[in-house]
């Protein structure tokens, strides 16, 4: 039996904020809509930024991409701070159980020395790749136009710090919390020949100013090559001889990558469909960065995957090209 609880009902004067009504009509708004649309200031700026006096504080001219409405670049995950943090907290709880399982049984330290050395050489240095991605993502959050982009970009920035720390934990699980693998992997990242071409490209992104190009280089292209190459292909190769202990930890990274991909795809697809100039620019950047990054990844792929490396990279690139074509890019 259900009992109808009577509450006093007063008809509201309006169902949502004026700026949301103009976009979606006079109906109740979602929390994502309330937290996102039209929140960034867009008119009557007061001062010339000392760090960029030719443009306004928030300015559409910080990228060559153009949009009639920057709020068309919405996030299909509909993240606002509240559901973002609760989603990540829940995922972290699950991950903590896995980390605990692996740590209690010393599963990574029980691996053969050459496998541990391989993880230290080829997985742990990616913490620095993630820190680079954090920098690049912060660049998008800082200089992009409109809350629809800056808000998920800031969340992505923090995600990258989280991923860097997760990869660091893999290092600590290998070195028994001494931190030696982290120290070693930093030298590997800054000095070892296998990694220098990739570090070179990450640093090239640091001096790329157009925020949309940075988005393409880092969040679309580099991630789409790095994540599958290391956390699928290399991970499978390691699992083949050593069981799935490492995979239980890289699975988190892949799931995060797939979830983030929904946002990335929506942004690129919408921007590319906006006008032919956008499509040409986005396609050009995608091809340039893809070619640079594929070349940059060849040495580390070669030294870790050996004779499988060419096939692995080719498979990663083929999957990426298919995805890019679906987003409306000519690659």
């Amino acid at each position: 039996m259900t009992v109808e609880i009577r509450t006093k009902s007063v008809k509201p004067l309006t169902n949502s904020f004026g700026h949301l009504q103009r976009r979606f009509g006079d109906k109740p708004a979602t929390r994502y809509q309330e937290a996102t649309y039209d929140i960034q200031s867009s008119a009557n700026f007061h001062y010339k930024p000392l760090w960029d006096p030719e443009r306004e504080m928030f300015d559409v001219r910080r990228t060559a991409i153009t949009m009639k409405d920057w709020y068309a670049l919405k996030d299909p995950r509909q993240f606002y701070y509240g559901n973002y943090t609760t989603t990540r907290a829940k995922q972290q709880d699950a991950l903590d159980r896995t980390l605990d399982f692996v740590e209690k049984r010393d599963l990574l330290r029980a691996m053969p020395a050459d496998t541990r050395a391989l993880i230290e050489h080829a997985i742990v240095p990616l913490r620095h790749y993630e820190w680079g991605a954090n920098t690049n993502s912060a660049h998008v959050a800082a200089y992009a136009y409109g809350t629809a982009v800056t808000s998920p970009a800031m969340m992505n920035t923090m995600d990258r710090l989280g991923m860097a720390q997760h990869i660091s934990r893999i290092g600590l699980l290998i070195d028994g919390n001494s931190g030696e693998s982290l120290l070693a992997s930093k030298t590997t990242w800054t000095d070892h020949a296998d990694w220098q071409p990739l570090r070179r490209e990450v640093e090239r992104m640091f001096v790329t100013r157009d925020w949309f190009e940075v988005f393409i280089a880092q969040i679309l292209v580099a991630d789409a090559l790095v994540y599958p190459l290391f956390f699928q292909h290399l991970d499978s190769a390691i699992a083949a001889g050593n069981g799935s202990a490492l995979s239980s930890l890289t699975d988190y990274l892949m799931r995060w990558y797939e979830e983030t991909g929904k946002w990335v795809d929506a942004v690129i697809k919408t921007a590319a469909a906006e006008n032919p100039e956008n499509k040409a620019l986005l396609s050009g950047w995608t091809v340039t960065w893809r070619d640079r990054l594929v070349t940059a990844l060849a040495p580390i792929a070669q030294s870790t995957l050996g004779n499988q490396s060419e096939d692995a990279l080719a498979a990663v690139v083929a999957a990426f090209n298919t995805r890019a074509a679906k987003l409306g890019l000519s690659v």
Binding site: F17, E34, Q40, M57, Y81
Partner: protein
């Protein structure tokens, strides 16, 4: 079984060690690109940093801990917000005047949180050190949280009351909202070091308690469950932000003695700008809260004179002095609330919230709180205006006020030690005259005139004809420039602002709640039931 050479049990890590391992080594010295090409904004202000590693992380939060801690806070907060909405909590506040204070909050404050998110995301990108960058990143995300929770909380009020429905639009256009807008834009358009001294130290560390206490206690005293909840939930974020503020100052001062005069200049500037911005709270505390928490002068004594005094005594060892214009803020603490309320009242047809004259009971409270100033200067003014209201010829200002080039308040303040003489300052720059409200604002203008000549002064813009919507024809018969300027600002003329008595908010409130819209004046309409205490209050007030 552990493999050979790996048999030692895994070391147990303290939180501090864990944080250090997971964080500090992440950055590297770039070699393919030049450091100055990667971090382009950190040298032009003249601040010298020799060792970014000396930065002491104030929080030591790893991301997993941040997500869990913040996620838990959000779960609790949204449970309350949901219950508030389900139960029409907006009708549980003291009276409909309280809602006018919320209008100032959503229209004037929420957008600052977003600007702050952007300002900190720029630091998150531009600082070379890992520690300060992570601190800035977390604060950037926190600020996004504050904007978001404020919108989600106040949206319920916006559905039932006027004047809250166009907050982003009004923020960019309404003449009095250029006070907060220009404040934060000044900070974001500065260099990264000035920004962090301005916001993290001068604003968050020195002044934030002053903003937090009256808003949140005021909300609690007046039954606003939703605002209290987001306020308390934000408090632990604010505690982190304040810690960042003091760490920043110490870091900058310890890095190089040449940083001291720059930091001092920014403290002087941003203390004054922050004070001018926050003194808006003076009117809220003294006039807008139906149930009052404390008076502005009392709050200034506790939160600046005592706490700030101790802080600056502590910073003296670095060669830092208290802000140059602090004496003025103390001298005028008995004046500002009354002067601001008078100007808003006089311009009530041009603002997006409604105004009223204080009741007898409220004036008695102010006499008690401000024994040296209220009865002498302001009570006679309000009594005279009440007579004019009764006579059917209420006092109104029909022109727009002269704004200060720096803080953008109307030039409404008096000389700090002479409440009968208006304080006006001017400076000539490149053949033009610029007007300021005070010595504090004149100092700022004179130091960086090139920046402040660009200020978008709304009153100037209105009079230059730049504030009309595209459908407006100024040559059409019956063209009303004030009406049209208000429309441009997103203010509904005659609805959002004006006299509280007779407003849609007051009338709806009594219809919906059967309680008086102004507890100090008694019922405006027949919708109010004559019950118990409320009518006693009303009778006493009449």
């Amino acid at each position: 079984m552990a493999a050979e050479g790996n048999a030692k049990p895994a070391k147990k890590l303290s939180l501090k060690e864990n944080y250090a391992l997971l964080t500090r080594g992440l950055g590297w010295e770039p070699s393919y690109e030049k450091q100055e090409e990667i971090f382009r904004n950190i040298s032009f202000e003249g601040i010298k940093i020799h060792d970014w590693e000396k930065w002491e992380d104030p929080f030591r939060l790893t991301m997993d801990a941040y997500w869990k801690y913040q996620g838990e806070k959000e779960r609790k907060l949204y449970a309350i917000v949901d219950a508030f909405q389900q139960n029409n909590g907006q009708f549980n506040v003291t009276d409909a005047r309280y809602v006018q204070a919320l209008k100032i909050f959503i229209n004037g404050i929420t957008e600052l949180e977003y600007d702050s998110h952007r300002g900190f995301s720029m630091l998150a990108r531009e600082f070379p050190g890992v520690g300060p960058r992570i601190a800035a990143q977390m604060q950037s995300l926190d600020e996004l949280r504050h904007a978001t929770t404020q919108i989600h909380t106040i949206s319920q009020y916006a559905k039932y009351f006027t004047g809250m429905n166009e907050f982003p639009y009004q923020f960019d256009r309404a003449w009095y909202l250029s006070i907060p807008k220009s404040f934060f834009e000044d900070a974001v358009t500065s260099g990264p070091f000035e920004f962090i001294v301005a916001i993290s130290f001068a604003f968050e560390y020195v002044l934030t308690n002053l903003a937090f206490m009256p808003w949140m206690s005021g909300a609690a005293f007046n039954g606003d469950m939703a605002t209290v909840s987001f306020g308390f939930s934000a408090q632990s974020d604010e505690a982190r932000h304040m810690t960042l503020g003091i760490e920043v100052i110490k870091f900058l001062l310890e890095q190089d003695p040449a940083n001291v005069p720059l930091v001092q200049k920014w403290i002087d500037k941003w203390f004054w700008r922050g004070y001018r911005l926050l003194s808006l709270l003076a009117t809220m505390m003294d006039y807008m809260l139906p149930k009052r928490v404390m008076a502005w002068n009392e709050a200034w004594e506790i939160y600046y004179e005592q706490n700030g005094g101790a802080l600056f005594a502590d910073l003296a060892r670095y060669g830092i002095k208290p802000p140059t214009r602090a004496p003025e803020t103390i001298a005028e603490k008995g004046l500002v609330a009354h002067q601001m309320w008078s100007v808003f009242y006089a311009n009530r047809d041009a603002v997006g919230f409604q105004m009223w004259l204080p009741s007898e009971e409220e004036m008695d409270w102010m006499s008690e709180k401000y024994p040296d100033t209220f009865d002498k200067y302001y009570r006679p003014r309000y009594e005279y205006w009440r007579e004019m209201e009764k006579a059917g010829t209420p006092f109104k200002n029909t022109t727009l006020p002269q704004l200060c080039q720096v803080c953008q308040w109307p030039c409404l303040f008096t000389e700090p030690n002479d409440p009968t003489t208006l304080s006006l300052r001017e400076t000539e720059y490149k053949g033009e005259t610029f007007h300021m409200c005070s010595d504090g604002c004149k100092d700022i203008f004179d130091d960086t005139p090139e920046k402040f000549v660009h200020a978008w002064l709304p009153v100037h813009q209105i009079y230059q004809g730049n504030c009309f919507l595209p459908d407006v024809d100024p040559t059409a018969p019956g063209f009303n420039p004030m009406y049209e300027a208000l429309r441009y600002m997103g203010i509904k003329p005659g609805v959002d602002g004006g006299d509280f008595k007779g407003s849609a908010d007051a009338t709806n409130w009594e219809k919906w709640t059967s309680r008086p819209a102004n507890i100090h004046e008694g019922a405006y309409t027949d919708a109010v039931r004559d019950t118990g205490n409320q009518s006693d209050v009303a009778r006493k007030a009449v």
